[in-house]
């Protein structure tokens, strides 16, 4: 999978002076730009216009009413926790996959992409089945005072699964490309493994780690399919922002849905812009090796 903004040098269009080719070129151009305008620019403008249709005061009220504000807070909170855990575990998993040989490595490497292929709703159903109050594990955890499903831990768990591949797949290629001679030198002068990792490897992979974490965070902000099943969607407690948008639509409050959407879009666009900038700056590609 790739989210990379492919850095391809723009080949100068060779002028061929052939009428049919010129027509073909304009036709392709029109098809490409037309499709993107129709599918992306027009719908986005519709949301912006609808969100702003009540004026700034109404927009402010839409996103600061207690239910909306709580939903937004929960979404950002769970996304931050998810990103933090997956930054650590993702880096560790990528490191282990690249550096060590162990039974099951090929299998692990193959299943990393699984959350991209399994429908997120199915992921949610799986988690309810495994950790829900009717399951053995869920009942046991609840006996210990931990309620997972229909609660915040369930939301985080679903997000962890859904965003599992991002950090791994951004860090892995960078680790593979890493020049080992500096590490060897560090070992030679007696540095411990941890010191070597901290002073040599970590600085080299940190741009990739940051990129992966931003992608993970953006994905977590927008997640719907798994959360709608797992969270229970109780307003002000387990209702996330995307589910809030769905709820507002169900209760025919289009503007309320649009206002929240505008805010979420602004957040994710900022992230995508930062990622784009970082990829250009450090030339990181988000791609499987």
């Amino acid at each position: 999978m790739s989210l990379q903004t492919a850095q391809v040098s723009p080949a100068k269009a060779p002028s061929r002076g052939r009428v049919s080719l010129a027509w073909g070129r304009w036709g392709l151009r029109a098809a490409a730009v037309g499709y993107l305008a129709l599918m992306i620019v027009l719908p986005l403008s519709a949301i912006l216009v609808n969100g702003a249709s009540g004026g700034p005061a109404a927009f402010w009220q839409d996103i600061t009413n207690p239910v909306a504000y709580a939903a937004l807070k929960l979404t950002v909170f769970t996304a931050v926790i998810t990103t933090a855990v997956n930054v650590f575990m993702g880096t560790l998993t990528a490191y282990v996959l690249v550096r060590y040989d162990f039974p099951g490595r090929g299998l692990l490497n193959a299943v990393v992409d699984m959350p991209f292929a399994i429908p997120t709703l199915v992921t949610g159903v799986m988690l309810v089945l495994l950790y829900g109050p009717q399951s053995t594990l869920g009942a046991w955890l609840e006996g210990g005072g931990v309620r997972v499903i229909f609660n915040t831990p369930g939301i985080v768990l679903a997000l962890l699964v859904v965003t599992y591949p991002f950090v791994i797949r951004t860090v892995q290629p960078v680790l593979m490309e890493l020049d080992r001679s500096q590490e060897e030198a560090a070992y030679t002068i007696g540095a411990s493994k941890w010191t070597t990792f901290r002073t040599i490897i970590l600085p080299a992979i940190s741009p990739a780690v940051v990129t992966g974490s931003l992608l993970c965070f953006a994905r977590a902000l927008g997640e719907f399919g798994s959360i709608v099943v797992v969270a229970g969607n109780i307003p002000r407690r387990t209702l996330t922002a995307p589910v809030y948008v769905y709820g507002q639509l169900e209760s025919y409050n289009q503007r309320g849905a649009s206002s929240m959407s505008v805010l979420l879009l602004a957040l994710s666009f900022t992230i995508i812009l930062v990622v784009d900038w970082m990829q250009k700056r450090w030339n990181i590609a988000y791609a499987t090796p």
């Binding site: 492919a6 490409a32 690249v98 490595r105 292929a117 399951s135 953006a218 399919g225 948008v245 849905a257």
Partner: protein, 280 residues
């Protein structure tokens, strides 16, 4: 897939894991097991707990079958649309040059940043009551919202970037020398594309196609908003699972979820196959 430790594939210093390394490996495997393997085993168990016969009965129920059909139809439709226009967009972005190309290039990634629910909301705003394009749709006699055309649009939106982003690097790498040669020999643009360009980018296209298809059959947020959920008519498999869960018809939900997971598993295997060839 083979990943080598050293740059040249030779075993590095830490290839023979020590105690700390085994601990790290254990943590990574345990994390993958908790997040991925555990839930997978549970869904298989949940679907088959009442026997294979019941599972078969559930997935062959009328509404389950019609939902799966619609899912596959929408998947194929959206994938076809995004493949043809995706290759076209990739070609324009790599080979063509015009004012505003960077902006167009940036647009392609946007669907990844948009929550699927918001994608559905967009379709409603455009084609719902009082929408900007509603008069146009009415004039054409098309029912878009709460019908399959809207669901197709929503599905196509969320899966738009895959083919473009897979084909662009391959197209850039292939270069234009062979195409130029074909033109010199008098080939038309279409002939050059079909006989020269297409064969060299085909694995990239196929990888993009498999990613697109996997994404489309699993979609829920966007179609949930647009479909109106009429069972048997505008209900996809994911919507069917969603509804049966709501109805507390768990056996039906688990069975269909397991079936969908199996289909996605097959797509994943095909995906790996294409990726290896595309990135070779």
């Amino acid at each position: 897939m083979e990943i080598h430790a050293g740059r040249d594939g030779s075993p590095g210093k830490e290839r023979r894991p020590g105690l700390v390394e085994w601990a790290l490996i254990g943590i990574a495997l345990l994390y993958a097991a908790v997040l991925l393997a555990g839930p997978l085993v549970t869904i298989a168990w949940g679907a088959l707990s009442e026997g294979f016969g019941v599972f078969l009965e559930q997935v062959t129920a009328d509404h389950a079958v019609s939902a799966l059909k619609l899912t596959l139809l929408l998947g194929v439709g959206a994938t076809a649309l995004n493949t043809v226009l995706g290759v076209c967009i990739a070609w324009v972005l790599v080979r063509d040059d015009f004012i505003g190309k960077r902006f167009v290039n940036g647009l392609v990634d946007l669907p990844f940043a948009v929550s699927p629910v918001i994608a559905g909301l967009m379709i409603i705003l455009l084609f719902g009551r009082g929408g900007w394009l509603t008069p146009l749709a009415d004039a054409l006699g098309l029912k878009i919202v709460f019908a399959w055309p809207g669901m197709l649009l929503a599905t196509a939106f969320i899966s738009l970037p895959f083919v473009v982003r897979e084909v662009m690097p391959v197209l850039a790498e292939v270069g234009i020398d062979q195409e130029e040669a074909a033109f010199t020999m008098g080939a038309t643009g279409w002939q050059a594309f079909r006989h020269i360009t297409l064969p060299s980018i085909k694995w990239g296209v196929l990888y993009g196609v498999s990613l697109t298809f996997a994404r489309t059959i699993g979609e829920i947020g966007a179609v949930l908003v647009v479909s109106g959920g009429v069972s048997g008519l505008t209900e996809t498999s994911t919507l069917y699972i969603f509804r049966t869960l709501d109805d507390r018809n768990y056996t039906a939900a688990y069975s269909t979820a397991a079936l969908l997971a199996c289909i996605c598993f097959v797509v994943l295997v095909v995906m790996e196959f294409f990726r290896k060839r595309s990135h070779a």
